[in-house]
Each structure stands twice: as structure tokens, then as C-alpha cells.
Amino acid sequence: LEEALIFEIGRPDTSGVDLPAPSAAKARLGSLARKAPLGLPGLSEPEAVRHYVRLSRRNYSIDAGLYPLGSCTMKHNPRLNEKMARLAGFSDVHPLQPTSTVPGALELIGEVGRWLTELTGMAAVAMSPKAGAHGELAGMMAIKAALKARGLDKPVVLVPESAHGTNPATAAAIGFEVRAVPARADGTVGAADVRAAIDERVGAIMLTNPNTCGIFEPEVAEIAAAIHEAGGYFYCDGANFNAIVGKVRPGDFGVDAMHINLHKTFSTPHGGGGPGAGPVVLSERLAAFAPLPFVRVTDGEAVLVENPEDTADGETPYGRLTAFHGQMGMFTRAYAYMLSHGADGLRQASEDAVLSANYLRACLSDVMTLPFPDHPSMHEVLFDDRFLDGTGVTTLDFAKAMIDEGYHPMTMYFPLVVHGAMLIEPTESESKAALDLFAATLRDLVFAATGGDSERFTGAPRFAPRRRLDETRAARSPKLRWDKPAAAE
């Protein structure tokens, strides 16, 4: 069944909201009262509910099935967290109410910050970044501010080839020059390569650990030492923090700044692409540069520091990142998740995520190809497409065939350092039975591909709301909005 667009079924004079009739009072809009219609369709409530329910049924979701998107961490989203976020004491308070009327909200921000610094072994945290990439920006800004405060002209940032694209984009956005560090054949970054790339112009390194190949960087401590010796800072991309929570602290291997994707590690819902939250933890060396606003906890009392005028000695914030205090709605969800798990449950979650990834690796490595067999996987296992050589089936075809088996595909073609990468992250939320069924299904697909049934792949998906969509056409002649069709007379 097709579902039309709201513009095709809505009417400008229909409303699904009943409002009292305004009085005839005089407006005070000067010359700016609106003159023309906007073109916004309305639906009655029954129509609107049906429209969105029907649309939702064309989505895959964690709640409906395993969602093994490597590096995206599609773990279970507890409903308790949604309930807690909707407590009126959190959801119905204004960011600019007098702070005397929101002590509980400030205390919660302080508490989430305390958990994050304790779990990472860091000195401070900036809570306001709105998502992972925003946290990266915040962290790199702190590094830039620190370099400036120390009077250093070190405009170069080292970024490994295997890094997520946001790393170079972030560094470039605030004027750093990006210098690539090659990846080694075993999927890791070598301390020697880093040392070789460091010169006096290098102010920082951005490294993801566990890295995008799903491997814990074995030389991360040496790399940290190298950049520190050179007077620079170590930015760690925390996208994969969920593999090591409670097992090892980034502060212990020399990290100076790391953003934390609350939606990945602490299970705030992905919501079809956001909202996220990206608090960034900072080492002692960077703590003074945390941006405004921040919550300072002294003797158990949480104080909101919003303006340079409010700062204490030693606090030298480099500015403001966003209008208000951060993604409070995500903090409440993450805090419910933290309290529910506790120190024990968080460690168990990391261990189970790693265990599940390695279990899938064990179940599949005889039929799929591992580019980096020398290291155990962390929470995700990376395969490449060598096992498809000669089959006429591409990584993309393979992924689309998984859809027909009822699964969301894994992450494909990332990281770029591997040809035809397939990155599988089962998370800790899957039962052994679910993992076994998934592995068996993948094995069947591999045998089908190597057995010559390429049509099953190139024609996929067949059992989805849509067959293969033409992405080239979408990009070549972009149609980015609905326009009223020319009248068909």
C-alpha cells in the first residue's frame, strides 16, 4: 500500500487542533502582518495518526529486529528512560528559569558529568555539545584554545586514514591543517608512524580507540606519550567507548579530550537520525578551557556557570557552543541508563558487546574474510569482500539481500581502509539464539553467493517496502521538496 504525502491529502483549512476563536482585538504587527498563504496542509487527527503510523511501518527498527550497524551501536532503548525524560520536573522546565527554581535539573547534569568523568578517568566534562560531531568540535576547540593560551603555533592535526570523516572535517572547520597517518597492515596505528609524522607544527592527534576497524589500538599509550612529548594534545574519538566502559579508562591511556555519544554508549534513542548528545570529557591539561555554560559542583551544590562574569579563578572558557545548557532530555535518559546498570552492569554491557562480536566472528570467519585477523575484535567485527571475489555480488548487493532475510544490513564500505568493508556490531542486546540465527542466515547467504545464485543479490531487496532505489538519479536532479503539480487539464 502506498502512502501519499501530506501535501497531497491535506487541506489548508483542515486542522487537527481545536483552538478557541480569537477576539477581534487589534494587532500590533506594524506593517509586517502576513500577506500571503504559506501552503501548509492540515490533517484532522485521525488522518494524521494514520499517516504517521503507516509511514512508521515502513521503517526497520531495533525493536523489530537485530540492527548490526557497525560503529552505530544500535542497542536496546529502555522505555524507563523515555518515562523518566518525560517527568514534568525535567521536560517542563525552561532553560532560563531562575536557577534557584531548578536545583534538581542542575544536580542531574552534575551527576551525569560525574559518572562520565569517573568512567573515563578524566578531570572535567563539557555537557553542552549537541551530538558526537559537536562534541568533537568542542574538544578540538579546547585544544586550540589551550595551544593559544600557551602561545604555541601548532596548526597541524594528525588524523589516521581509517578515521571517521567527521575527524578531518572538524579539524578543518576550526582552521587546523589535517595530516594523514597511514594505517598499518594489521588495522592499527603505529606509534612509530605517529612519531614520524610529528613535527613542531603538530598540535594534536585525533585517534579513535577502539578504532574504526574494531580493534583496540595496542600502542595507544605510546602514541599519547609521543604527542604529549611534542607539546600537543590527544583527542580521542569516543564513538566506540561502549566496548571498554568499566574495563579501561581513556584517561589512563593518555587521552586529553574525548566526546561521548550518549546515544551509542548510554542508549538514548537514535530516532531516525537524532537527536544525539556529545558531552566531551577533558583531562587536567584542558579542563580550564571547557566552554560555557557548564555546571560546577561544589560541596554537593550544583551551580550553573553561563557567562564569563560567573567564572571562578582558573576557569578560562573559550566561548559558547549552543544557546542553552545541552541536550537535557538525553541526559535524563542516559542517567536512567547509568543508574539502572550501575558500575557492574556497565562493565557487563561492554563485555557482552565484545563477546557477541567475537562470537559472530567465530561463527563466520570460515566463510567470510577477515582483513585483520591478528587482533581480537572489540564490540564490532570487520569483514572485507574478498569472500565475494568472482561471484558477481558486491558488498552492496550482499547487504540488500540481508534485507530480504529480515535483517538490517551491517555498515558497508566503512572504514575506507578496507575494500568492501562490512562492519558488524551486534551489541550486548541480542540473545545467543538471535546471534545464532543471524550467523546461520549470513552463512546461507555466503553459500548462495559463492554457489552462483547472484540474482538473489543483484535483484534484492524484494521483500521490502521498496525495491532498490535509484540514488544516482536523486543526486543528479535533486528533488528536495514537494511542488504542486501543474494542473492536469
Binding site: 515502513r58 527498527s61 532503548n77 573559550y318 537535557m328 558500575a343 563477546l355 535509484d470 528533488k479
Partner: protein, 446 residues
């Protein structure tokens, strides 16, 4: 632990299949001395009942906006959100889905984004919109960067009516990137000469309407001046409900329009998550940051939607990307879109009128108090009053009496010499009784 399906027996079986003796063998790449021996200094896990108690106690310490006469705005507004909005965004298929990388099984999200983009473009009076930004303030920062890319210039001019937090966000980003920013002084009386600040080095002029002080701004003259010198006009709206009543910025010549979408579909939530709206002209689309959904067809020729123009994005262009943004505000955008669909054009217009009339009525009443001056000739649902004393102190006194009277300008602009100014916002959720209570309380307090 209730969220972990694996049993100890499962774990043992799985370790055996992997061929290792214990879980720490999988952490072999972690230097042994860094692997934590025990648990960190944090509490153990708790059941739902206990978690609800802890968080319920924290929540109960805050004064809930809906429980008192409430006049706080300045960039976030308390509107009534239909119950169906929150119900629908909690559908598993929306809530627990990821960015729609596999379009064949995420048509729900993609069609919503396509509809959202069209709604936003129409609401702002522009040609194209993206699939949302984090919020209005970061969107403003991105708009300035986009203007720099389009003009090849690196000096932005910020009007004195721009929300001070937005101005601060732009300055932070610009300073870090080495760009110039001219911030005009705060303009509570809407009397600044903005045109004079625009010159041939200006990449863009950033103007908010209604201003943070509540004044409506006629953008046409500013657009003309900007265009005359090759600069762009970036218009900012922090209260989108206003667009039900006033001319959209697009109709007044804006080149980029940024808005905070929180007012529709999203709760106050102590500041986030919100949803940034971002729209521009079609010819600028390849320099626009953020995700975009586009229409295409599938192998059988049926209409479908995909994320598109991703070559602008950081996962393809890396350090040459239009921005480092990787996600949007998907669920907040969904809430916005559902609320706007429910309102429709007629509902939005009526909602705007109700807001405006209530604000005008309160402004008139407050203006009638001896010693209180209303600074606005024009306004939508928020305005500025001058008090005979310190506004922040008055707000504190009224808060203690259970009235949240507004935002003292000193909260946003400490040290600017505007300590006697108060921003007062009024929406459809404010009753006549609430307004009367505020008037009486201020009359009594000064």
C-alpha cells in the same frame, strides 16, 4: 541485569566457541596494567522502582512551568503539544531506527524528512530546507559559515536584536576559524542603524525577527543593502509560531533563514533537544550543511525517498565537507512536522493570533502600571519592559511567590547596563488569570 539477554551459561558457551578462556582474553590489546581490576567508584545497578525514586526526587526539586503563571521565553517557548505527537514519536519504528542509510527499509523516516523539508521551506518562505540542524543557535553558526563559502568573504555582521546566545555561538565558531564578526550593541528599543554596518567586506548580516527584545523587523531594506554590496541576509527566527502571523523572511529577501523549531512539537526540556530549521535558495543548495532527503524511484518505478547530495558531507568530503555535522535532530523534526501537520495553515494562523492577542493584552496591562514602561511598538508574543529597579531581583522575588515572570536581560547580557529590562513572553498556555496574577504581583512588588 534486565537489559542483558545473555546468561552466564550462554557466555561460557560463547567463549568456548571463540576459543578463549575468559572475557579478558578479548581485551588482550589493552595493556594489562590499564585493565581495571574491580568496579569503579560508582553505585551498583538498580531496578526500575529504585531508579524512578532517585530521578523522581530530582525532578520534584524543580518548579514545573505548567504549575505556575509562566512568562519565560527568550528563545524557548511553552506551547501546548497535542497528545498524539508524543504518542507517534514513541512508535518503535521511529524511535529506535537509525539514520536512513538503507532507504528501502526506512521509507518512513525518509518520507517524513521530505515532508518536513517542504513544510519548513514553505513556513520560512524559502525554496529548499534541509532535514534539520541541532538547534537554532548552531544553525545560525552554520549559516554564517555557509555565507562565507558563498561570498568568499569572512566578516559577519550581527544585528543588535540577535539573541545574545546566538551571537556568542557565532563568535565562538568564527574566532576559532579566524573569521571576523561585528556584533552591534544590544538594541532594546529597535533604533539601531544596521545598514551603516554593512560594507563591501561583509559576507552576511544576521538579523533576528522578532528580535530578542520582541520587535518585528522589516527585512526588505536590509536585504536590499546587503545584496547591493554582495552580502547575504541571514534571517533568524527563534519563535516559529510568529510565522503564522507575520511575513516570512523569505518573502522579505532573506538568502538563508534559520529558525529554532522547538515551539512546535517539542517541550521546553531545560534547553534541549531542540530542532534547528535551515532553508535557503535553490541555487545555494550545494553549499547548505546538513542532511537532505530527496525523491527518486525504485527499480519498479515507484516513488521513493533517499538521503541525497551526500557528496557535500563529511563522510565523503572529509576535511572539505560543508560542515562536520553528522546527524540531525530526527525525532524532534518528526515532532515538529506532526504538530505542524495537525495545525495546518488555519491552525497555525489561529494559534499565532491567540498568542499575539494575549501578549498585546498583557503588554497593555503592564504598561498601565506606574513606573513600568513597555519598549515595544511592535511585538508578536514577547516584549520588553523597563522596571524601576533590578529585573533579576524582581524575577527572584516573584519566583518565590510562584510566578515565573520572564527573563531579565541581565541574564543574557550581564554587564551591559540593561539590568532594569525584563523580557516577558505570553503563549496560548497562559490564562487571563495568569496574566492578572503577574500584573498584580509586579504592581505590588515595585
Amino acid at each position: 541485569m534486565r537489559y542483558h539477554p545473555l546468561t552466564d551459561a550462554d557466555r561460557a558457551d560463547m567463549l568456548a566457541r571463540i576459543g578463549v578462556s575468559g572475557i579478558d582474553a578479548l581485551y588482550a590489546d589493552v595493556p594489562a596494567d590499564e585493565l581495571l581490576a574491580g568496579f569503579l567508584d560508582l553505585p551498583k545497578g538498580r531496578g526500575e522502582l529504585e531508579v524512578e525514586r532517585v530521578m523522581g526526587r530530582l525532578a520534584a526539586k524543580n518548579l514545573v512551568a505548567g504549575s505556575v503563571p509562566f512568562f519565560v521565553g527568550a528563545g524557548a517557548y511553552r506551547h501546548h503539544v497535542p497528545a498524539s505527537v508524543d504518542h507517534l514519536i514513541q512508535r518503535s519504528e521511529f524511535l529506535t531506527s537509525y539514520t536512513p542509510y538503507q532507504p528501502e527499509i526506512t521509507q518512513g523516516t525518509l518520507q517524513v524528512l521530505f515532508e518536513f523539508q517542504t513544510q519548513v521551506a514553505n513556513l520560512l518562505g524559502m525554496e529548499v530546507a534541509n532535514a534539520s540542524m541541532y538547534d537554532g543557535s548552531t544553525g545560525t553558526g552554520e549559516a554564517v559559515l555557509m555565507a562565507h563559502r558563498l561570498t568568499g568573504r569572512r566578516k559577519a555582521v550581527l544585528a543588535g536584536g540577535l539573541h545574545p546566545h546566538y551571537a556568542a555561538v557565532v563568535r565562538t565558531l568564527s574566532e576559532m576559524a579566524g573569521d571576523a564578526v561585528v556584533t552591534l550593541p544590544p538594541d532594546p528599543t529597535a533604533t539601531e542603524d544596521l545598514l551603516a554596518a554593512i560594507d563591501a567586506e561583509t559576507s552576511c548580516v544576521v538579523v533576528q525577527t522578532p528580535t530578542v527584545f520582541g520587535h518585528l523587523v522589516d527585512l526588505a531594506a536590509i536585504a536590499d543593502k546587503a545584496h547591493a554590496v554582495g552580502a547575504l541576509l541571514v534571517a533568524v527566527v527563534t519563535e516559529v509560531v510568529a510565522l503564522g502571523a507575520i511575513e516570512p523572511p523569505g518573502a522579505q529577501g532573506a538568502d538563508i533563514v534559520v529558525a529554532e523549531g522547538q515551539s512546535l512539537g517539542n517541550p521546553l526540556g531545560f534547553g534541549g533537544p531542540y530542532v534547528g530549521l535551515f532553508a535557503t535558495r535553490k541555487k545555494f543548495v550545494r553549499q547548505m550543511p546538513g542532511r537532505l532527503a530527496g525523491e527518486t524511484v525504485d527499480a519498479e518505478g515507484r516513488r521513493g525517498f533517499v538521503l541525497t547530495l551526500s557528496t557535500r558531507e563529511q563522510h565523503i568530503r572529509r576535511e572539505k565537507a560543508t560542515s562536520n555535522i553528522c546527524t540531525n535532530a530526527g525525532l524532534c523534526a518528526l515532532a515538529f512536522s506532526i504538530h505542524l501537520t495537525l495545525l495546518g495553515e488555519a491552525g497555525l494562523s489561529r494559534l499565532a493570533t491567540l498568542n499575539h492577542q494575549a501578549a498585546v493584552a498583557l503588554a497593555d496591562a503592564l504598561g498601565g502600571i506606574a513606573g513600568v514602561e513597555v519598549l515595544n511598538d511592535t511585538l508578536f508574543n514577547e516584549f520588553t519592559i523597563r522596571l524601576p529597579g533590578d529585573a533579576a531581583a524582581l524575577v527572584e522575588r516573584l519566583a518565590a511567590k510562584g510566578i515565573l515572570a520572564g527573563v531579565p536581560v541581565s541574564r543574557l547580557l550581564p554587564g551591559a547596563g540593561l539590568d532594569d529590562l525584563l523580557l516577558v513572553a505570553v503563549t496560548e498556555t497562559v490564562t487571563p488569570e495568569d496574566r492578572a496574577a503577574l500584573v498584580a504581583a509586579i504592581r505590588a512588588a515595585i
